[in-house]
């Protein structure tokens, strides 16, 4: 019973915070790829590994995605 309750808690935690994981691990990288793998890359600076406080473009996008996901989780809305 104990292990079942623990499993339930883990599943609820993972799924309950799905918007946050989705923002960090998918939307963030997706935006980074849209910026770097499409013609939009011409608008990026030549150096993208150290853009802001030492973060790379990918890392910045993941942070932004995470904040967006956190907002979606807390407000219940993506848009």
């Amino acid at each position: 019973m104990g292990s079942t309750a623990a499993m339930d808690a883990i599943v609820k935690f993972i799924l309950g915070w799905l918007p946050l994981w989705f923002g960090v691990f998918f939307l963030g990288p997706l935006v980074a790829e849209i910026l770097t793998r499409t013609p939009l890359q011409q608008f990026l600076p030549s150096e993208t590994n150290n853009l802001l406080i030492g973060l790379s473009l990918y890392q910045l996008c993941m942070v932004a995605g995470g904040l967006y996901g956190l907002t979606a989780k807390l407000t219940g809305r993506w848009i």
Partner: protein, 296 residues
């Protein structure tokens, strides 16, 4: 005019006679395995699975693969829908395994549990248009097509009533099958997100987005519009009142045969590819029943 109507004056036919004629027509189209409906999901799944390695190896352009993936997901639901109604085979029949395989495999493309779809869809049939008991009713409460699309988009919000509609139904039912569906949905949700995250971690987020994530979102908007809203909007309750026919510039094919959805609600085990034909043959009876035929 169907030979079944020979010598029958439908305007004077009793309720029982109309029902008998309706059943005779329905039986012509039921109880025979539909080979196209077997080939359809198998081909669809093979194509969708094939475009992944083709794109990842650079053999196929992602921008060519994207509309193919959209089409794959667009047509993935209907075979699952046939399986939900045991159209391929009922419990105890030799091909029951095929019914369940097609149901599970087709639903997986939509990142949905077949059991959840079946349990909720059967509730839709049982309580069509009931705002409390029909899990689709919330989506169909839209005066315009655009409002219907907005309802679907709202279901993508993490905490909307639309997003919870199916799971609320599953929890309300609480049957062993419903709970198995809940377990399946958990597993499928984890797999779906694991695929998206793993691909993103390997620099393939764009591929994951254009082969699964975005096609899924677009397909569900189409499916909700034509398979749910268009045949049910403005309808009431009752066997001949909960579904209507309609006409569309996209025709029968472009609307996934939903112009004949009324026949599906009357006889759900008719395989999807025979529904339009059955509808055309059944038209005199539907007129006698004063069904909303949308100009047919």
């Amino acid at each position: 005019m169907s030979e079944i109507f020979a010598g029958v004056d439908l305007s004077k036919a009793s309720d029982a006679e109309l029902m008998s004629l309706e059943r005779q027509i329905a039986h012509k189209y039921m109880n025979r395995l539909s080979i196209p409906m077997v080939l359809w999901p198998l081909a669809n799944i093979v194509v969708w699975l094939s475009i992944w390695p083709l794109v990842l190896t650079g053999t196929l352009s992602l921008w060519v693969a994207f509309p193919i993936a959209c089409f794959n997901l667009l047509v993935a639901y209907l075979p699952s829908h046939d399986a939900q109604h045991d159209s391929y085979a009922r419990v105890g029949e030799p091909l029951r395994w095929l019914n369940e395989f097609i149901g599970h495999a087709s639903s997986f493309l939509l990142a949905y549990s077949y059991r959840v779809l079946r349990e909720t869809h059967l509730q839709h049939h049982k309580h069509a248009n009931d705002p409390k008991l029909d899990p689709d009713a919330l989506f169909n409460m839209a005066d315009t097509g655009w409002q219907s699309i907005k309802n679907t988009i709202r279901s993508y919000q993490p905490d909307s009533a639309e997003a919870r509609s199916y799971m609320d139904t599953i929890v309300r039912l609480g049957t062993p099958n419903a709970l198995l569906g809940l377990r399946d949905q958990l597993i499928i949700t984890v797999i779906y997100h694991a695929v998206l995250f793993a691909m993103a971690a390997n620099g393939l987020a764009l591929e994951a987005a254009l082969l699964w994530w975005l096609p899924l979102k677009l397909a569900v908007i189409y499916l909700r519009y034509y398979l749910s809203w268009a045949p049910h909007v403005g309808q009431g309750k009752g066997r001949y009142r909960d579904t209507k026919s309609f006409q569309s510039i996209l025709g029968d094919t472009g609307t996934s045969g939903m112009t004949a959805h009324v026949v599906h609600h009357l006889h759900p085990r008719i395989p999807h590819n025979r529904t339009v034909k059955a509808f055309k043959e059944m038209l005199p009876i539907l007129r006698a029943r004063n069904v909303d035929l949308g100009g047919h």
